[in-house]
Symmetry: none
Subunit: 197 residues, 2 copies
DNA sequence: CAGGCTATATATAACTG
DNA sequence: TCAGTTATATATAGCCT
């Protein structure tokens, strides 16, 4: 029999990080397990989608989701499938992503500040709509840049390939394939990815 | 005093969706709150990052994160998943971007519609706040990938140059260049690159 | 329908081997 | 470090207002 008084010292009112490393690790295992269980119960009992991600301070990843993956849950929330045509249409915008993203951060802060105030209903919404547009712009800019870079990389690498081929053929250079790092030759997946963006 | 026997019928062994709509809704509120609390406790007590997303069957989003927003955690999550299955994840994110922009369009319309009506303030704003987070997430993911690709490109070009140099200097074995090294070797290279991202 | 109550079920801190 | 034990703390189902 345990007579000891078991007071959960770090719980209750002023609860904070468990300082003892060993205790913290044990608590982490138990509570992580418990959280996962709760998440599962919630998703099943209440028929909702639940996703959870836990990243330990050592960088280890643990996750739960009621569907295939957390990404899937986010996708489901975001909406329905969109045709690729709209994407290619979106890729038509110019530069200056850094300025936009800084402005976005400012807008986020401003917006959050304004939302905490009781009055002023129209302004936050207006700002948010504005923010939406800016975010979309930034989004498209970055996507455009990315695609551009991917295409440039592809081109550059093909040039490299051709160059290698040409020079080696001309000089009748031979090589050993067993221990050498391969040149960058694009695999099919990468091209698919590029097409997708 | 309650004399009734309180047997949690839908719990225990064969636990499943609570059929009664009202009960399910009540349970959802209580358990959601509980899960959030657990998540918060876990993050503080064990000093880890925790993110949770709950999507009710009515499409309403609830989330928790130990940091400012889910953004950072989700990005780290994506990073982890990415290093395991890079290509498919790349595609997923691309799709997610598409979904984001679509959802944003929907919200814009919804918001404008609701702004014309006298009341109903909380819903659009709440949704817009969530939209903010989601857009930022997408933004950060894409930006991260942009940087990743820049670094990859640099690294690969260096590898290419080194490879070319080495092979031109050392000419022993002849080979047929129409049959180029298999692309999948490159994938290993990429994974190495991804590890420190 | 939201909020409060209480009995019960579950989670887990402290401990043991 | 790991798996079990038990007292205690917390969560919550069912009921009520």
């Amino acid at each position: 029999m345990f007579i000891n008084v078991r007071v959960c010292e770090h719980l209750g009112l002023g609860f904070k990080r468990i300082e003892d490393k060993s205790c913290r690790q044990v608590a982490f295992c138990k509570r992580r397990k418990g959280l996962m269980k709760k998440a599962k119960e919630l998703s099943i009992l209440c028929d909702v989608d639940v996703g959870a991600v836990i990243i330990s301070n050592r960088g280890r990843l643990h996750d739960f989701s009621s569907t295939n993956s957390l990404t899937g849950i986010l996708q489901r929330y975001e909406g329905h499938v969109e045709s690729e045509k709209e994407i290619s249409e979106e890729i038509k915008v110019a530069e200056q992503s850094k300025y936009s993203s800084m402005k976005m951060g400012e807008l986020l802060q401003t917006t959050e500040r304004q939302l905490e105030e009781p009055n002023a209903d129209s302004l936050p919404v207006t700002d948010l709509i504005h923010l939406e547009k800016e975010l979309q712009t930034t989004l498209m800019q970055i996507r455009s840049r990315k695609e551009k870079m991917l295409r440039e990389e592809n081109k550059l690498l093909e040039v490299n390939r051709a160059w290698i081929k040409k020079n080696i053929n001309v000089n009748e250079i031979s090589m050993d394939f067993t221990d050498l790092p391969p040149p960058h030759i694009l695999c099919g997946q990468e091209r698919v990815t590029l097409d997708f963006l």
